[in-house]
Every structure is written in structure tokens, then in C-alpha cells.
């Protein structure tokens, strides 16, 4: 480990394809609004991300829309949207006024709706699109588009064909393998992948014998999901060559560096902003010191540098060490001498 580095020497820049960000910290969609710029510093953010915009105006779900759980928040807001006209005239200018790159999150209830909103925002000053594929597909009985890699490919390919801006794809974690959708999104031209959205869950009001949320199920976020998101970032980033943006339970600069090590090139902060609206600004301030703890003086030198016993893994596995048959001794597994002391390897080593 190197010595901690002076703040002034630390390079916080990061790149999402052609989009270079001054810092790797940005809000998660839906957890930020221009209102915040009036109470906390936002100039140090790498970008801002809008709430997901639909072409048509729509309301959100019935209340309750959120509830606190152990170390987390469960929400089912339902993505209320003012529609594209109001977004262009009233919402987008307020994001632009913040002075950092603006990522516009887009959604749709049908594949074509994603393409439509991309076209409608074609002329606007949008620095990148983030495709929110965690929307129910009304053409497929309300199943989440993101859960079907073919549909992810269809949506993203169509968006890609309609804009020359960077296209980020925000993947859902509610799948068996995030890798599949990640590879498909990359293959049809995604510039970067946001990993991940919230994890489906349920909260119960025992007195009322009802789900707490009006929509019954909701998405879990907050510190509770951080290890889950780290795992997904690690898996996805190893499977694709485009940058990954980590998202899930990040609330401090050290959290951010953990995600960078796991393979993220940037991070999004959501739930943490609710309790402490200046979380992201603080994170940027503390990032040089946190990078120093990892022996680094720039963001790019830690991205994906998580040191694991890769050689212990079966060739066809992207899981944790020992996940393959025989705890490291499975087909295709090779153990580097360095890792022979690891309990997960030992059992399989002659």
C-alpha cells in the first residue's frame, strides 16, 4: 500500500466512453432534484441524473410509496412523470443550470416508448441518456423489461440508433445473472452500464395484515444492499469491457472506493442523500483520502483492481471462489500457489 496522497495531487476524473466526468460521483435517478442545489453544494458532482422521464405524463403509485426497513428503504414510487413537454420547458433547464453534465434517465412501458422519448429529446442539451429498463412492459403482461435480455437488447439498440450521445443502461438486479443483460447491452452499443437498480422486496404491516406499500412489492435500497450491489458490479465489470457505474447502498467515500475496486468507473448515490443531503459533496471531498487508503492517487488506477484469487475460479464461472464443484477443484479450476492457504481452495488442492 502506498502512502496517503495529498488531495491536490489526486486525479478524480473518470470517463464513461466519450463523456469525461470531473469526479466519479453522481446521484442515482429519482434520488436527486434541482431543489437540492439550493441547500447543498452540487458543483463538484461528476454529473446529475434526472428522475426517469416518460414521453407521456403519468402519475405514480398509490401510497404508501416508501417505508424504512433495517438499514434500508423499500420504495415503490411508480415513476410519476411530467411528460416530455413539461420536462423540456421546466425541468431540464433547472438541471442544466447546475453546470455539470446532465444524464437524462428515460423510461417506457413499451419498447417503442423508449425510442420515442429518445427522439423527442434529440435536440436537447443532454450529455447522456440512462435507459431505465426496470419498467414494467405492458406488452408482456407487466414483466420487467430488464429481466429479459432480448428485450434489453431491443430497447437499447433502438435508443442507440436514435442518438449520438452516450447511452448508459441501468440494469435490474432482479435476475439470476446480471452478466447476461450486461453482455447484451454492450453488444448493441451501450456506452456504460449502471449496476444496479433496487432489489425487489416486501414489507408487511402486521396490524393491518397488509403490505406496507400501496403497490405491495417495492425496491430495496440503502446500506442493506451494498454487498449485493458490490457483487453485481464485480460480476458485470468482469464480463464486459464498457465502463460500469456502481449503484447500491453507497454513502461514503470509502464505499465509493470499494465499488471502484470492484470494477466501477463511477458511482451513483441514492438513498444516502435523503438523510444527509450533502452526502455527495462530502464524498467528493473525502475521496482523495479514501483513495489514499487504497494506495492510489487517482480514480482510474483503482478501477477493477480488486485482488482476488481469480485463478481459483473455474474458467466458466464468474462466481465466488469455491463456487464451482469441489470448492476450487472443479472442472477447469486452477489454484495459484498464493491462494492455496485460502480455505475455499484448500479442500480441492491435492
Amino acid at each position: 500500500m502506498g502512502a496517503p496522497t495529498l488531495t491536490s495531487e489526486v486525479d478524480l476524473r473518470t470517463a464513461l466512453g466519450p463523456l469525461v466526468l470531473a469526479t466519479p460521483v453522481m446521484p442515482a435517478s429519482g434520488c436527486f432534484g434541482p431543489e437540492l442545489a439550493t441547500i447543498v453544494p452540487v458543483g463538484s458532482l461528476g454529473a446529475v441524473v434526472t428522475k426517469t422521464i416518460f414521453s407521456a405524463r403519468r402519475s405514480g403509485n398509490r401510497p404508501h410509496r416508501l417505508t424504512e426497513t433495517a438499514a434500508g428503504v423499500l420504495n415503490s414510487i411508480g415513476i410519476p412523470s411530467p411528460g416530455v413537454a413539461t420536462f423540456r420547458s421546466e425541468v431540464l433547464p433547472r438541471y442544466r443550470a447546475i453546470g455539470v453534465p446532465v444524464v437524462v434517465s428515460i423510461g417506457g412501458l413499451r419498447v417503442e416508448e423508449y425510442w420515442q422519448i429518445t427522439e423527442e429529446l434529440h435536440d436537447e442539451a443532454v450529455d447522456a441518456f440512462e435507459v431505465n429498463v426496470s419498467c414494467p412492459n405492458l406488452e408482456r403482461g407487466g414483466l420487467t423489461i430488464g429481466a429479459n435480455p432480448d428485450q434489453v437488447g431491443e430497447v437499447v439498440a433502438g435508443v442507440r440508433a436514435r442518438t449520438d450521445r452516450p447511452v448508459l443502461v441501468k440494469l435490474t438486479p432482479n435476475v439470476t445473472s446480471v452478466v447476461e443483460a450486461a453482455r447484451v447491452a454492450e453488444s448493441v452499443g451501450a456506452t456504460a452500464l449502471t449496476v444496479a437498480n433496487t432489489f425487489l422486496g416486501l414489507a408487511v404491516d402486521l396490524r393491518a395484515r397488509r403490505p406496507v406499500l400501496g403497490n405491495a412489492m417495492g425496491g430495496l435500497s440503502g446500506p442493506a444492499v451494498k454487498p449485493l450491489a458490490l457483487r453485481l458490479v464485480w460480476e458485470a465489470s468482469r464480463a464486459v469491457s464498457v465502463p460500469v457505474i456502481g449503484c447500491g447502498g453507497i454513502s461514503s467515500a470509502t464505499d465509493a472506493v470499494e465499488f471502484l475496486l470492484a470494477g466501477a468507473s463511477a458511482v451513483q448515490v441514492g438513498t444516502a442523500t435523503f438523510a444527509r443531503p450533502d452526502t455527495m459533496a462530502e464524498m467528493v471531498e473525502e475521496l482523495p483520502a479514501a483513495l489514499g487508503l487504497a494506495g492510489a492517487s487517482s480514480v482510474h488506477e483503482v478501477v477493477g483492481q480488486l485482488q482476488v484469487g481469480n485463478d481459483c475460479l473455474a474458467d466458466d464461472t464468474l462466481g465466488v471462489p469455491g463456487a464451482s464443484d469441489g470448492a476450487g477443484g472443479g472442472r477447469g479450476a486452477r489454484c495459484h500457489p498464493t491462494f492455496r492457504k485460502l480455505p475455499t481452495c484448500e479442500a480441492g488442492v491435492p
Binding site: L36, L66, E68, A208
Partner: protein, 319 residues
Amino acid sequence: MTAGGAPTVPDLPPDPTETGALPLDDGQASATWAGSGDAGPADGSLVMLDAPATGARPSLTRAAVVSNDHLGDRYWRMRLLAPDIARHTQPGQFVMLTVTPSGPSNWVLPRPMAVADRDEMQETIDVVYGAHGWGTRQMAAIGARDELTVVGPLGNGFRLEPTTRHLMVVGRGIGLCSLSLLAVAASQRGAAVSAVLSARHREANVLVPFFEAVPDSRVVTALDSDGSSDPQVLGPELRILLEETPAQQIATCGSRRLLRMCSALAEATGATLQVAVEAHMACGMGYCHGCSAWVQGVDQEGPLVCRDGPVFAWLPAGR
């Protein structure tokens, strides 16, 4: 959700409304109507108040704790040094409050709490809370000189109507915290104030001294312990009071039963009625859309409790 007198179950999951900052709950298993998903109970409906002409912008303050005192029963009062909020808060407005600003907070969500009192000279605000959830028990352990993160003032507060010469406030439990500054404002404007203070029992009615100190006020207490809080008992009593001294305006917070009672009183006496409601909140400013007051329609987002409320006008069904 549990502000009104539900049994304390320490190991229930945390509830962002456990502080009952803006409660609307009888302590029974009733959800607020923000939770019912409909436009509200059939005996009336919420109507958005006009936005105030001049609203002070909220600010983020690392507020030092001046004092944190046990008031009685399970209730505590925390006094915070927050000059801007003390200066600008209007009756019925609230703050979002988070413990342990340094390091990861134990609270994932901040707590909405009504500003129960403010002192411009001392630059302080008071919040009153019931220490019965894990979050609020943590709060009760906070000592003077600790710092909290406070965002406020937030929300659309009560309107004191120019024609109001007699104001009746009707509140229960922590809901009274939303009404206290309104009573003060009315009194300062020369209006008479009737304060109807409902609680489980006498020791839990911790804001009685506050309302008694409001000049030209008359305090009516209503308790579960002696049956006087029952709307069937309290309603007729207040009806007589209002016939003797008509009120132009009624304001309520903290109980659905009391709201229904106030709705009938307002309808019978011609008074206007405003109500402060609660909701599960995350951002407190509107950007997360977590606290929808009701669903307006498939293509239109309804008002948000944090931004468009927490105070709404109440229109009795018959009016």
C-alpha cells in the same frame, strides 16, 4: 404510525413516521389516508391550499443540541440551534432531522418533525417527539452540544385567515406540535384561541403548559383515561363552546377521529377547517415523490404531503 397510543413493540421494524411529527392516527391500526390510496375518508376531502406568496427557502443546518429534556410520559423536547429556521418557520411547517451527522447514520431516512416552537432571539427551534421507536430512543440519548443535520423549514403550513377572530385548534398527541405556532400567531394577531388538547392520559398531555401560556387562550383537555376524548363526548362539548363563541377557523392534527369531529363542527358552525397530515417521507422537499397525498388520476401526479402539504384545507362532504 404509532403516535397516538399503540402499544410499544420495541422490535418492530423502524418506521419513518414513528416520531409522529405530523400524525393522523388514533393509535389504532388505521393507516393515514395517505396510506389508504384514495382521496380520503368519505366524510370530506383534502384540498390543496394556495402556495404562500413568500416562502423562505429551506436550508441545511448542522444544528447544535441546546437541550434534550424529558417532558413527561414518553415525550421529549429537543431544542436546536438553527438561526435561519428559527427566523423563517411558519406555523405548520416542519424540518427533516437526522441523527449522527458524522459517520454513517443509523437512520436511513430522516424524520419529519413539526417545529413546535421557535425563538428568534435565542435562534432556536423546538421539536417534541415520543421516544418509543428505535430511532426516537436513540434521539432521547442525544446530549447537549451534539449536532444534528436539520433541513427546513419545509412544507406548506397553516393559513391564518384575515377574518379569524377566534381560532380553535384541535390536536392529539404529537399532532399538537403542528398547531402550537399557529395558536401563537393567532394570539399575536389579537385573535382568541381555544386549544383542545387530546391525549391518552393527563401525564401524556405534555403541551398543556405551552397552550396555557398563549395569551387569550382557553385550554380544553380531553383524555382517553376518563373518556373525555371520545368524539361523542367531546364533540357536543365543543359545539356548545362554538355556539357561545363562534370560531371562524378550526385547525386540527393528529387524529382521524378528531378530524371527523372537526369536520362536523365546521360544517355545523360555518368555520373553515385546515388539517396537517402525515406521510412516509424520504426527501422532504418533493424530488423523491415518496409522500403522495392521494392519487389524482393515471396521467396526473397528485399533491405531495411534503411540498404541497402537510397542511391542506378540508372540505366536508356536505359542503
